[in-house]
């Protein structure tokens, strides 16, 4: 049976001023699967990813058309509370961005914003999130240390723990390993595979092999258009579109 759809875009367009960055994108992203966006620099994959938690709202001169549904909720409906949306749809950036606070406070941050004050509840949730981000064993005896004392790979897992602490439905990962060494990258990839048991994951990556390793579905974007979207095994073995084949085999341009 096909997985339920977590995110749907309908005729989605985005412009920076008069420049069309995303052109009439229609895609259905399945629930609790990993979907990878691939494509050359400037194709719009990060812009598209950031539409799912309205991060592009923060940029001047951006206009959008079409619909994006998170399950059956139109996330661009004016009545949507963006801070609640961003708890449901977490975003992890390329460069780890922990707050200059303790490890504990980083993970508890979103919970405190939600108004949770009960110490035991906070401790339990922080522990749960750090365990789910595969970081607990490395930090459980130094939760009060400054998060900036962690390595890059640990910081990225901390950021993921911070995002999952507020129990999102979707995790957006924008090139989450491009600033990490190969071993830290593998740890994050392992984590992504675990995360999909509970969350819908959408990842932007320039690393073809990473897309092939971690994702169930792959979308290839070029010049703001969705060229092909299919199961990852099909994209990397027998893509239907020549542009996809040319890109993934290095015959592009």
């Amino acid at each position: 049976m096909a997985a339920p759809i977590a995110l749907t875009t309908k005729n989605w367009c985005l412009k920076y001023g008069k420049t069309e960055a995303l052109k009439n994108l229609n895609i259905e992203i399945p629930e609790k699967k990993v979907t990878a966006f691939i494509g050359p620099s400037g194709c719009g994959k990060s812009t598209f990813l950031r539409c799912f938690n309205r991060m592009n709202d923060l940029i001047d001169n951006v206009s959008v058309e079409g619909k994006i549904m998170l399950y059956d909720e139109d996330i661009y409906d004016p009545r949507v509370d963006i801070s609640i949306l961003r708890q449901s749809v977490g975003l992890v950036f390329q460069k780890p961005n922990p707050f200059p606070k303790s490890i504990f406070e980083n993970v508890a941050y979103g919970l405190r914003i939600q108004g949770k004050k009960n110490k035991t509840e906070l401790q339990d949730t922080v522990e749960w999130a750090l365990k789910n981000a595969n970081l607990w064993n490395e930090v459980h005896n130094r939760l009060n240390d400054n998060s900036l004392s962690l390595s890059g790979g640990q910081q990225q897992r901390l950021v993921i723990a911070r995002a999952i602490a507020v129990k999102p439905q979707v995790m957006l990962l924008d090139e989450p390993t491009s600033a990490l060494d190969p071993l830290s990258t593998l740890k994050i990839e392992e984590l992504i595979l675990q995360l999909k048991q509970d969350y819908t994951v959408v990842i932007v990556t320039h690393n073809m092999q990473q897309a092939a390793r971690v994702s169930d579905y792959t979308a290839f974007l070029y010049l703001g258009e969705l060229i092909e979207f299919n199961e990852t095994t099909k994209i990397f073995s027998t893509p239907k579109e020549k542009q996809t084949e040319d890109y993934i085999t290095g015959r592009f341009g």
Binding site: M208, S237, T238, E245, I248, T249, G250, R251, F252
Partner: protein, 235 residues
């Protein structure tokens, strides 16, 4: 697809490696055909020296097998090929393996000829009729391989029935001579016919790898009629 495929990669080095792989495969195919011609000549001329020469060719084929395997393995390790590149390398490695098996069969046939002092003329005719048929079949397959021609490959697969018929005919003709040939010799002759039949099967495998590379569909275990239905162009 294949015509410009091996020269269209952004990385010139990758283009060179892929071209090197296909060139080596073409040379290996030619070497196998030379070995086949020698084997048939050794049967026709009942010449143990030619049979010995056929056996010696095996070493050349083994060397190609090793070189192509190493290069393919290296490309897989260093380039992480996907899609058409991956299918090309897989098809080439599988084809190499089948060519190597064909060479082994030709070696076994040559050994059987070398070990026989006298082969009756009518048996030689049986082998030449069947052997030339299989040799032509393999030659057509290798031509299809050199141009990655799906239609020609489908024709090779289509001819399975007629190749099987040729094999059965040769067996029937051999068995008809049962009373005039001692049992040891007869088992050698049947062994030679079986070797030729195996070569035809290997040729058909190669045709299936060509389809896999070009179309991305694994037809190795598909029925002949299904393959023909899918890939024969209707005019």
């Amino acid at each position: 697809m294949a015509n410009d495929y091996f020269s269209s990669h952004i990385s010139e080095k990758f283009n060179e490696e892929l071209s090197q792989l296909t060139e080596q495969l073409e040379k290996m195919g030619k070497a196998v055909m030379t070995q086949f011609d020698l084997a048939l000549q050794s049967i026709e001329e009942k010449d143990p020296k030619l049979a010995k020469k056929t056996l010696k060719k095996e070493k050349i084929i083994h060397n190609y097998d090793i070189q192509i395997y190493e290069l393919g393995y290296q490309i897989m390790a260093l380039r992480s090929p996907v899609a058409g590149d991956l299918r090309a390398i897989m098809s080439i490695l599988q084809t190499t393996s089948d060519l190597e098996r064909i060479s082994d069969e030709l070696g076994k046939i040559a050994k059987a000829i070398k070990d026989k002092n006298e082969i009756p003329e009518d048996i030689i005719h049986i082998f030449l009729d069947y052997g030339n048929g299989v040799c032509d079949y393999l030659n057509r397959t290798l031509k299809a391989l050199n141009s990655y021609d799906v239609q020609a490959s489908t024709t090779i697969i289509r001819k399975k029935k007629s190749m099987n018929a040729l094999y059965l005919e040769s067996i029937q003709k051999l068995m008809a001579l049962n009373k005039t040939v001692d049992i040891d010799s007869m088992s050698s002759y049947l062994f030679i016919a079986k070797g030729l039949e195996t070569i035809a099967v290997n040729a058909r495998n190669i045709a299936k790898y060509i389809i896999f590379f070009e179309e991305g569909i694994d037809v190795r275990h598909q029925a002949r009629k299904d393959i023909i239905e899918q890939f024969s162009q209707t005019s």
